[in-house]
């Protein structure tokens, strides 16, 4: 299976069903059984010119996606890549055309020309006023006697729709549509041809000037970037160095990703230059060729009247609107972080404690890395050691405000976020940042730790017994809270860390590792916390553990 597909038999009808269920359209039931979708608010007695387009299916959203107030009155849809029957077009004209007459907008393919043409002759023979506008915007084959109609047709729909909605006569609407069609040129470039439902995938080379029915390209190309692809298309469109400004239509032939559409837009804006682009339509799929991986670019010589016609609001399922490209705007952020504070007091006792903890963590690097190899990527020790090294460097440089409370926590939080790396650095930074706020609000260190742990739990999503550093930290805080002092806290942390050897990870990376691989091994984060408390006890008592 290569696509989301229910087979070729039901494809076209299902596409139209989706549209009928989601848009203000009605299916016109005609004797011949053909497919006609029309505005559900249309009356042939409206006094306005009816606009009918259509052709083979497989070009969605064209054409039915452009039916509605301000664009087409109806679309007549054939089978995949096959013109609708004369009878279907004929019956659609008969049901839709009123006294104001009807304009048929037809892409220039023999099947469409002849079938729409005969239907028009029949309608005229019955006394209806019918005009045809042929669109042949494809410049892939220079000098072609009958250039094909491709994506530019959608602009003709929009322009004719504007004039018809204003109540202009059939002759006026047809003239506006023909003038627009004569002012545009389009070419496409595709990396691969469309996959036809129910047919084997056809290998195909990138080509310039592919047809929208998988017709062979005018020539093979081999762009190695989006930039080159756009340059090839602009070259084929013979963009000159003059002053002409264009209305540009960037059409996704069906297989481009959102990112590719954005890249192609960026390249078109850059390479054509904002000064030459009066308006932009797209990038969007407007006239697709199933999932053809490619795009087409249409240049319409811009006039104020054309811009007015294209910008008028419509109520149709698929018109993407008109953009006026402009230079990127930049705002400069007012620096909201406070100005650099004076360093603040220092405290030699606290600095000695911090140094002891940092050195202990650096000594523990390899052991913690080995523990982490059972449940993570084996770098927990290196991560803690990196944070500890940053602390030692700050101590050596004398840049830690160790005699302040909130300022110290804030400074350590910033160091750990910037230098420690990994989730642990951010989590500890969250703890310390939230704790700093508590300290600044008048809390003591224990309250700050508790606030910090609460915020760390909220952001990290881990609970006790999830095999994280919380399983050492929370028991330690509990012991402190009960007045047990550092010794009791260190014992609680050690006990908690040891217990992680029998826990199943439920948060962080270790949650993706099988339980058996972790069992019997202590969580490295909890182990680090236990060692932090042990080193605090040792330092306080003047001995090394």
């Amino acid at each position: 299976m290569h696509s989301f597909d229910n087979g070729p038999e039901t494809l076209v009808d299902q596409i139209l069903e989706a549209l009928l269920a989601t848009a203000p359209l009605a299916r016109l039931d005609i004797g011949s059984g053909g497919r006609v979708l029309m505005r559900d608010d249309w009356s042939p007695q409206s006094g306005k010119v009816a606009l009918i387009s259509g052709g083979g299916a497989g070009h969605e959203p064209a054409h039915a996606g452009f039916v509605g107030h301000g664009m087409l009155t109806a679309a007549v849809i054939g089978d995949l890549f096959a013109s609708p029957s004369v009878s279907a077009i004929d019956e659609a004209i008969g049901a839709i055309c009123g006294d104001a007459g009807c304009l048929l907008i037809v892409k220039n393919y023999t099947g469409d020309r002849l079938n729409f043409g005969l239907a028009a002759e029949r309608a005229r023979e019955r006394g209806l006023e019918v005009e045809i506008v042929l669109v042949g915007d494809d410049v892939a084959l220079p000098g072609a006697a009958q250039p094909r109609g491709i994506a530019g047709t959608v602009l003709v729909h929009k322009i004719a729709g504007f004039h018809a909605e204003r109540g202009e006569s059939l002759a006026e609407v047809a003239r506006a549509a023909r003038e627009a069609a004569a002012r545009m040129r389009t070419i496409g470039l595709a990396l691969s041809a469309a996959r036809l439902p129910g047919r084997p995938v056809r290998e195909s080379e990138p080509a310039l000037g592919l047809g929208i029915h998988n017709e062979a390209g005018a020539r093979s190309v081999a762009p190695t970037s989006a930039a080159q692809a756009v340059a090839l298309v602009l070259d084929a469109l013979a963009v000159n160095g003059g002053q002409q400004r264009w209305i540009v239509l960037l059409n996704d032939l069906g297989g481009c990703s959102p990112q590719e559409r954005a890249l192609l837009t960026s390249e078109v804006l850059d390479q054509l230059g904002l000064a030459r682009i009066a308006r932009l339509v797209g990038a969007a799929p407007l006239m697709s060729a199933l999932d053809m991986h490619g795009f087409s670019l249409t240049l319409l010589d811009s006039t104020p009247a054309l811009i007015e016609a294209l910008e008028a609001p419509v109520r149709v399922p698929a018109w993407p609107g008109v953009i006026t490209p402009h230079a990127a705007q930049t705002r400069t952020a007012a620096r909201s972080t406070p100005d650099r504070q004076p360093l603040g007091r220092r405290n030699a006792g606290r600095e000695a404690l911090i140094r002891a903890v940092a050195e202990r963590l650096i000594e523990s690097r390899d052991e913690l890395d080995r523990l982490d190899a059972h449940s993570g990527d084996g770098d927990a020790g290196s991560t803690f050691a990196a944070g500890a090294t940053a602390l030692l460097q700050a101590l050596d440089a004398g840049t830690l405000p160790s005699g302040e409370d909130a300022a110290l926590w804030r400074a350590v939080a910033a160091l750990l976020e910037a230098r420690m790396g990994g989730s642990s650095g951010v989590l500890l930074s969250i703890l310390l940042t939230a704790g700093a706020a508590r300290l600044a609000a008048g809390g003591d260190w224990l309250e700050a730790l508790e606030t910090g742990v609460e915020r760390m739990r909220w952001h990290g999503g881990a609970a006790p017994n999830d095999r994280t550093l919380l399983d050492a930290l929370i028991p330690a805080l509990h012991a402190l809270n009960e007045g047990g002092g550092l010794d009791a806290a260190a014992q609680a942390a050690r006990h908690g860390a040891d217990a992680t050897a029998s826990m199943q990870a439920r948060a962080g990376r270790a949650a993706q590792v099988p339980e058996a691989a972790q069992r019997g091994h202590v969580d490295p984060g909890a182990e680090a916390i236990a060692r932090v408390f042990e080193s605090l006890v040792s330092q306080q008592s003047g001995t090394r553990p």
Copy 2:
């Protein structure tokens, strides 16, 4: 080359450049160099809650495509599939958050949780009011402690944006966003994983519950149709038989064609049933995974308040709007074709002429087919013979109004269009239909032929000397016009047909065939016309040619 791509280094910045040039957004210049896009009309003094979202790039249009009036205030964008830095988020909050506070809408991934979380703690520590809503709508892994945030996040953007725009407090906006997030569930299905720019294509199997960063799916699946794919997703979403109505989001993960989006829409509407779907968003790419060929479906338990919030108008680049699906409407065409006329008079002499012409064409089938093999698909003779057979059958049945003028031409035109096939049948039908109109308006047969030829030329696009049947027909009409009678017309047609052997085709299928293959062979259409005139002469003179 597998995609329109300029390499991974510039991808994200170029995507944002396209957006900045086409939407009312501004880039926020921040000290850390991170990527922040914001509404260009935003003031922190607006008294409204600021909404900030973001995450890794590669999910376009999320998130920057949803920045604007009524949705997000700003988006902070990381590298491809990588969370933005704490500093970038921190600086964005600092520049954007005013007295009304700021809500961070965060998809539930460790990197995003922690980086947005720490930035929020820092902002709070500076005295700003900041709340976080975590979105974890992915139900791919049942019972997951930390379900991932995927496409449903976009609905949270819209709902929070509505409440913020109304001037509600931070607590109220956050509550509305959290309630919506708690009421939704999403799962995705993809046929193939995303291609990462600059990395080799990874072969992948279709899977249910893929992550939007190419995380492995919850399980492999092998849908053989769009119908099965949608059924698998609905099954995984545990859609029950109850009465709950949903707001449904159908998200293209980036690689679906317009036709696939329509098919999937049709299947979702059919399989869920219109009665269960309060509103539909999409099908559209909203939270893509580069070009991942797949879709996700989000079900949000519907309430009137949620519908109001989702339907409120916004001015953002990529919100597709909300659809109320409905039963398809059908209109029955008032039959505009005239009621069946009484047959009209018949004329034995004319019937004998028609029969002679028809028999001559049937006899000529193989010869004309052989001529056509030089320039077409070798069926011109069969085509003319099919039309002739239909005429003989009508004569035998006595159903041709051979004694009337316009009615006879109209009847033959209808027969040829319906039974002859190919372009020739339609072209001759155009000639006869336009001619019938001329006859009805009082013209004679020669005038009718001239009008018909003129219309046939207009619709077919062929000119004299283009190697078509016109090269026999026009000289014949010229001879008749000069009063030369049928003999002179037949000689002129023969002379014109013979001359096509040295002409180059410029219209129709033969235009695609090399000149050398055609040279020396008469055009089969012109030959058929010559034989028609010859048979008329023979019949008139009572002899067979």
